[in-house]
Amino acid sequence: MRELAADRTLTIEANDVSALPPLHGRNHVIGPYISVYNEETLQYLAQHGARRICLSPELPFSAARTLAAEGRRHKAEIEVQVFGRMPLALSARCYHARAHKLTKDNCRFVCAKDPDGLRLCTLDDQPFLAVNGIQTLSDSYLDLAEKIGEMKAAGIRHFRLSPQDCDMVRIAHHYRNAADGREPLKKIETLLPQIRFSNGYYDGHEGHRRLSP
């Protein structure tokens, strides 16, 4: 980590506090697994070199707006994920290895067999979550294309697409259009008909919900 941090040509995103000491005083990005929920935390991290902060998916737009305003005062920009499975939890145990009856230290990288994650369903066979190694994600894909205009007006300039196992070039065009204020040619549901989309967190609801704009 120290070697990486010494290479100033790299942009480094910290997703654990243990990565922060070597990044101290050098421009860096804070990822969604470091909890930045309020102005005070943003201010502290910005004072030590955080220039961009990608928020936890559970934060509603109201919080993102407040943080974007605070960020402007401290030269830190806000990034919001707008597409893809949402990162929901991390664990010390690898559920992928476990599901394939392997131990974490001899996992044979089985997670690579499931480029889009391994679907976890309820006992009623309702798709619920997705397992990707030590990470647990949402089964639904986040879609905030229709909210990008509102976020831009609040000063949010960075929008994250989490890569899924689909035609990401088309997806990127779709969100590029949205970011440039052009009407999307098609709804995201038409591009990926087999996927369930959600946007509930944006207005402070359950994350799995799909609420109409």
């Binding site: 935390t41 502290y44 599901a99 369903c121 006992l123 066979d125 979550l129 967190y201 402070g204 359950e206």
Partner: protein
């Protein structure tokens, strides 16, 4: 007689003023509690302390030779940070012996405005390695870190020799399966989360459904978390401790709904150099608190005098508790496929050594199974 320098502090939960008194009377060195609002990670109806109750509680503890730590360990809400700052200010003015915080901004505020107030890092900050812990110590003069439960005793021992602060470890109760303070599972299903609301899998979103075959289905929001056969007792649907289907098999995919009981590991744990043992459960009733605190007090005192520790002191309580879910040690009829999946459960192999932490699985009802 074995000579030991000092025993670690026994840090006990108190969700109400009467639980606080019970814990102190039963031999707690420290009680930890929270204000009655979303500043603490046990923000349940009917629980926690008003300002007056907190001041009285601290006075009671101090008169009886015990300390009080105040947990202010949720993440302050953007635009409303004052509520959390006020909680720290009040804790300081009431004479709390420490505050337990998780948020970087709140830690910075506390260090700056109350430099003499002891600052402890909550497990919700999920600081599990040397670099992360040192970051908090250097930046905010953190005096103690509450360690995540994933660490094994050798790992705890190794950490204690390299970090500049004390460590506190969980010894009993229900704990998080995922990295604490980074879990959005609850809000994904219910809109309410530990980080923002101080609740996980909140009771307001829990429903039980009796099925035709006599089975009981527990749901959290729209999602089925578990199903219990007729003769099986239905447990509380804490999300990460539910039964799900993964890769064609059904079972406890993340973790069995068991809780931690470190009584049998106490001698090794004490040698690891921890400064404090923590009991989870601010949501518990007085009888439970009294039994657990007494058992740990007796175990610690026995250890100090070189006498054997009664390691099964809490088994009845644990099994009694576990009967709200499933009798310990029996597979139970359970959901279909569960037996097939049992060898995947955290019993054997290397992963258990790391993932299953320093304690054996005990029991105990997990109305809310998070660490704090």
């Amino acid at each position: 007689m074995k000579q030991i320098k000092s025993l670690p502090e026994l840090v006990c939960p108190a969700g109400t003023p009467s639980a606080l008194r019970v814990a102190v009377d039963a031999g707690a060195d420290v009680v930890y509690c929270g204000f009655r609002d979303k500043t603490n990670a046990r923000n349940f109806p009917g629980l926690n302390f008003s300002r007056d109750e907190m001041a009285d509680g601290i006075r009671y503890a101090h008169t009886h030779g015990a300390k009080t730590y105040i947990a202010i360990n949720t993440f302050p809400q953007a635009g409303n940070v004052t509520l959390w700052k006020q909680a720290v200010d009040d804790a300081a003015s009431f004479g709390a012996d420490a505050v337990i915080v998780a948020d970087i901004g709140l830690a910075a505020y506390t260090a700056k405005n109350h430099p003499h107030l002891r600052l402890h890092l909550s497990v919700q900050a999920s600081a599990s390695n040397e670099d992360a812990i040192c970051y908090y110590c250097d930046a905010f003069n953190v005096k103690r870190v509450v360690l995540p439960r994933v660490l094994s005793i050798p790992e705890i021992t190794a950490l204690n020799s390299v970090i500049p602060c004390e460590t506190e470890v969980f010894a009993f109760g229900g704990l998080c399966v995922m990295a604490e303070g980074r879990c959005n599972l609850s809000s994904y299903a219910t809109g309410k989360s530990p980080n923002m609301n101080g609740v996980c899998s909140p009771a307001s979103h829990v429903r039980y459904r009796q099925d035709k075959d006599g089975a009981m289905t527990s749901k959290l929001g729209e999602f089925t978390i578990n199903r219990f056969a007729k003769e099986e007792a239905a447990g509380y649907p804490t999300l990460c401790k539910g039964r799900f289907r993964l890769n064609g098999e059904a079972g406890y995919i993340f973790e069995e709904p068991t809780s931690l009981d470190a009584l049998s590991l106490l001698p090794d744990l004490l040698k690891s150099g921890v400064a404090a043992l923590k009991i989870e459960g601010r949501q518990r009733g007085r009888a439970y608190i009294e039994a657990v605190v007494l058992a740990f007090r007796q175990a610690l005192d026995a250890y100090a005098k070189g006498r054997p520790i009664k390691t099964d002191a809490l088994i009845n309580l644990a099994e009694g508790g576990q009967s709200t879910r499933r009798p310990a040690g029996r597979a139970g009829p359970a959901a279909e496929g569960e037996k097939r999946n049992r060898h995947l459960l955290p019993r054997h192999g290397h992963e258990q050594a790391r993932g299953q932490c320093h304690a054996r699985a005990g029991g105990g009802p997990d109305a809310d199974d998070r660490g704090q």
